[in-house]
């Protein structure tokens, strides 16, 4: 399991309590999700391990630790959030919300055990199909709404709804995942770190500290998810929308009712547009309110026409203010209009035949040759220069006082060309970005391969040299061993002699001492053993000095205070540094007072009193 793709993952067959890890399902910035076997119940589970790679790392003993002391606090805080997420989820037992079975701490981190759901991620499904039909969309949306309503009713909001966080089971039912950003809807002490999915997060999630967020926040994200499902691209990012809304009072998001016209029921498209209202107060305020606007499963359009490719630029084409279809001159041209059937009849619930876009431009008379010539010239001008095209579009956007069939036709074609050019530009940029990413990955991979090859050569060389050295060493050791045997015998004899001499020496010393003590007025010899030197390791040194200080050694107490103050060998604490300096001062260590006074400046008066009492309670000073 610890392959190149997941170097931080625990190995396959690793056991966490009674869960046996089988393989990695995926890894994100905050952790790794494993497929595991619950050996007690003999069933598959998904286990999410908290491992935020930017602040923590896995050690060789499989434990997870913060990368540094400074990041320790952040790591612990995140760990607590992770456990809180598990507890939040565990409150909900609903078929459309991921079921949390357990959470536990191990290896210095935490693990969330979830029911394993087979199926496909909704984002992957949309990537594969690009768009889906209304009935299929409603089969995903309505159950998710049910689950989410339960969450909202419990006072929580999800805050990160997007296709990636919806899982489609093998039977087609959806499950809402990843409540890592969930928070209490009605007030919460923490400021919410901005964790937003561009395109799916409403504007209030970018700037507000939480007061303006509520069920309508999740409704926006669901609306955006639906938009993605019908348009093939997510809606424009809320920040980009804000520039349009705040700058010119015009929303620059192409509405779902334009993008999906003819392919989806008007009711669904209106509901999506309502959910995607820029201002939170303009959106449905509750799931129930929004659900009432939706068509429902039985009312969903079941068009069988293949979903047309909607240009990626659809979400970025500026839109004119909302105008109903009865005002053809001001309605933006639909970018997916079919040239072969540009003027079908509008219909509320599209049948297969009505799946073509509704006429948005003008009367249905075909354009004459003159109009085509003019259109061709204008399209040519567009491709020749953006400025020219922009000017023409501005002109085309200007409402005409009286309908002019040819001009309307030209306008439609011009806007088609604009949309197409924009689509191509976006596709080109995406392809270039993909290519650059791929090249970068390739270069990294190549460099890594070269590095590994170089390391391999070096290792082989080192191994060969080591083998030769080891052989020579063995020969030498053999000779040495024989010599050592001889020397050992000599040493044993010498040791016996030495012990004999030492005993004689001790007897002689005792005799000398006895004789010396017979001399009147001579003080007895100091036989106190000298103190052992402190160990070099800071932790051991702290223990060493603490032991001495507890026995009343003033100098050791000073040292303990210094180690507490510096946080060497023990967690830093000015409180306990002050206390031990006080002990040292009481034992007559003159340097202790200035240190104690310096630390006192950083303490509260009540902490000083506490430390003083502590110092008084310690052992008496050694005389």
């Amino acid at each position: 399991m610890t392959d190149d793709a997941y170097p931080d993952a625990l190995p396959a067959q690793h056991r966490l309590h009674w869960y046996l890890l089988e393989r990695v399902l995926g890894q994100g910035g905050f952790g790794i999700t494993y497929l595991a076997r619950d050996t007690n119940l003999d069933q598959s589970v998904a286990i999410k391990e908290y491992l935020p790679v930017d602040v923590a790392t896995r050690r060789a003993d499989t434990t997870v630790r913060a990368r540094s002391d400074e990041q320790g606090e952040r790591y612990r805080w995140g760990l607590e959030r992770f456990i809180r997420e598990a507890r939040t989820l565990a409150r909900f037992d609903h078929p459309n919300i991921v079921r949390v079975l357990s959470v536990f701490e191990q290896n210095g981190t935490a693990y969330m055990v979830m029911r394993f759901e087979e199926g496909e991620n909704f984002a992957a499904l949309l990537d594969r199909k690009r768009t889906i039909q209304e009935a299929e969309l409603m089969r995903v949306l309505l159950p998710v709404l049910e689950g989410l309503e339960l969450v909202h009713n419990a006072g929580f909001i999800h805050r990160d709804i997007k296709p990636d966080n919806i899982h489609i089971r093998a039977d087609g039912t959806p499950v809402l995942l990843d409540f890592g950003s969930a928070r209490n809807a009605l007030g919460h002490a923490r400021t919410v770190t901005i964790l937003v999915a561009p395109g799916y997060a409403p504007f209030e999630q970018y700037y507000s500290s939480g007061e303006d967020q509520g069920p309508w926040t999740d409704i926006y994200s669901l609306g955006a998810t639906c938009y993605r499902a019908i348009a093939g691209v997510p809606p424009m990012d809320a920040i980009a929308r804000s520039k349009g809304v705040l700058g010119s009072a015009r929303d620059i998001l192409v509405p779902a009712s334009a993008v999906g016209s003819g392919r989806y029921s008007e009711r669904l498209l209106k509901a999506i547009d309502h959910a995607l209202e820029f201002a939170e107060k303009d959106r449905p305020q509750t799931i129930a309110e929004w659900r009432n606007e939706l068509p429902g499963l039985e009312g969903a359009a079941t068009t069988t026409a293949p979903p047309r490719r909607t240009p990626a630029a659809a979400a970025n084409v500026p839109r004119t203010p909302k105008i109903s279809q009865t005002e053809p001159s001001a309605v933006p041209n639909s970018p997916h209009r079919s040239p072969s059937n540009p003027h079908p009849e509008p219909t509320a619930a599209p049948s297969p035949a009505a799946a073509q876009p509704a006429p948005l431009g003008g009367p249905s008379r075909p354009a004459g040759p003159t109009a085509w010539l003019v259109a061709s010239a204008l399209v040519g001008a567009l491709l020749g220069g953006v400025a020219g095209a922009y000017a023409v579009k501005r002109w085309a956007d200007t409402p005409t006082p009286a309908p002019n069939e040819e001009l309307q036709k030209i306008k439609l074609q011009l806007e088609n060309a604009l949309a197409k050019a924009e689509t191509e530009r976006v596709a080109r940029e995406k392809a270039e970005a993909d290519k650059a990413r791929a090249e970068s990955a390739l270069a990294r991979s190549k460099a890594e391969t070269e590095r590994l090859a170089s390391e391999k050569t070096a290792t082989e060389k080192a191994l060969s040299e080591a083998t030769a050295r080891a052989r020579a060493e063995t020969d030498r050791a053999k000779t040495e061993s024989e010599r050592a045997e001889r020397e050992k015998a000599v040493a044993e004899r010498a040791k016996a002699d030495s012990q004999k001499l030492r005993k004689e020496l001790d007897v002689a010393k005792a005799e000398i001492e006895r004789l010396r003590n017979l001399i009147p007025g001579r003080p007895p010899t100091d036989t106190t053993p000298k103190p052992a030197p402190p160990p070099p390791d800071a932790r051991e040194a702290f223990k060493h000095y603490l032991d001495l200080a507890r026995r009343g050694d003033g100098s050791a107490a000073l040292k303990v205070g210094e180690l507490y103050e510096a946080g060497r060998g023990v967690a830093a604490s000015n409180n306990w540094a002050y206390a031990w300096y006080s002990v040292a001062e009481r034992c007559g260590v003159t340097a202790a007072k200035s240190k104690k006074d310096a630390v006192a400046n950083r303490l509260q008066p009540v902490e000083i009193r506490q430390a003083d009492k502590l110092a008084e309670s310690q052992a008496d000073c050694k005389k």
Binding site: E70, R76, A189, R550, W576, Q610, A611, L614
Partner: protein, 216 residues
């Protein structure tokens, strides 16, 4: 008076949390006072907090128990870890204990709301007259702070023991230009002490009921 009341109302709406002071500019229309002015106002607030804190600690910061020092020490560790505090340093022999956890621990989020509701008017009454409308742009958040509790467990007469607690806020990452805060809000201190002593009593009762050797 009207000004103060309206400023308090605005501040109550603008300050969802109280413990840490994260100064952020939220409005381009409101001028940020000079740093020395902010420091001066926050010093006033710190002094007010300190005074309240000292009063609360004098009243309920220290308690005596008729159990041995060793038992009181072990009970205290169990009581604090039960409240999700993490042991940073301990010296059972000397009787010192340091525990810490990200704010608002040991309080729950709900208890923290109570702190916010109770102490915000008091803070507004200090900061708003001093900083003017700029006080509405201040956000008081518990994140980025760690609550540290220092405890001593000392022997008291007749084989009894005395447990003393102090608390302070430690910044995870110090912010240059923002005045330091050592004192948690008074209601927070009061609630936390109540919670710790309650946990201690509960743990002590359990230990006294438990047969010898069944607990650490």
């Amino acid at each position: 008076m009207d000004y103060q009341r309206s400023a308090m109302r605005v501040l109550r709406a603008a300050l969802p949390c109280v413990a840490s002071m994260l100064v952020t500019g939220c409005g381009e229309m409101i001028t940020r006072p000079p740093p020395e002015k902010i420091t001066e106002c926050f010093t006033q607030l710190n002094e007010k907090f300190e005074k309240a804190y000292e009063g609360i600690l004098a009243e309920r910061g220290t308690r005596r128990f008729t159990v041995s020092r060793e038992m009181a020490y072990d009970t205290l560790i169990a009581a604090l870890t039960r409240l999700a505090m993490i042991v940073e340093a301990h010296d059972r022999f000397a009787g010192t204990l340091t525990v810490a956890a990200p704010a608002p621990k040991p309080l729950s989020d709900q208890e923290w709301r109570e702190v916010v509701d109770t102490d915000t008017p008091m803070m507004a009454s200090v900061l708003c007259p001093c900083l003017g409308m700029y006080c509405t742009t201040l956000k008081f958040e518990p994140q980025d702070y760690v609550i540290v509790i220092n405890a001593t467990v000392l022997a008291a007469g007749n084989a009894g023991s005395q447990v003393s607690l102090t608390t302070r806020m430690r910044e995870i990452v110090p912010r240059p230009g923002v005045p330091r805060r050592d004192y948690p809000p008074p209601t927070g201190v009061r609630l936390a002490l109540n919670k710790i002593w309650s946990s201690f009593d509960h743990e002590l009762a359990a230990r006294q009921l438990a047969p010898p050797g069944s607990r650490r």
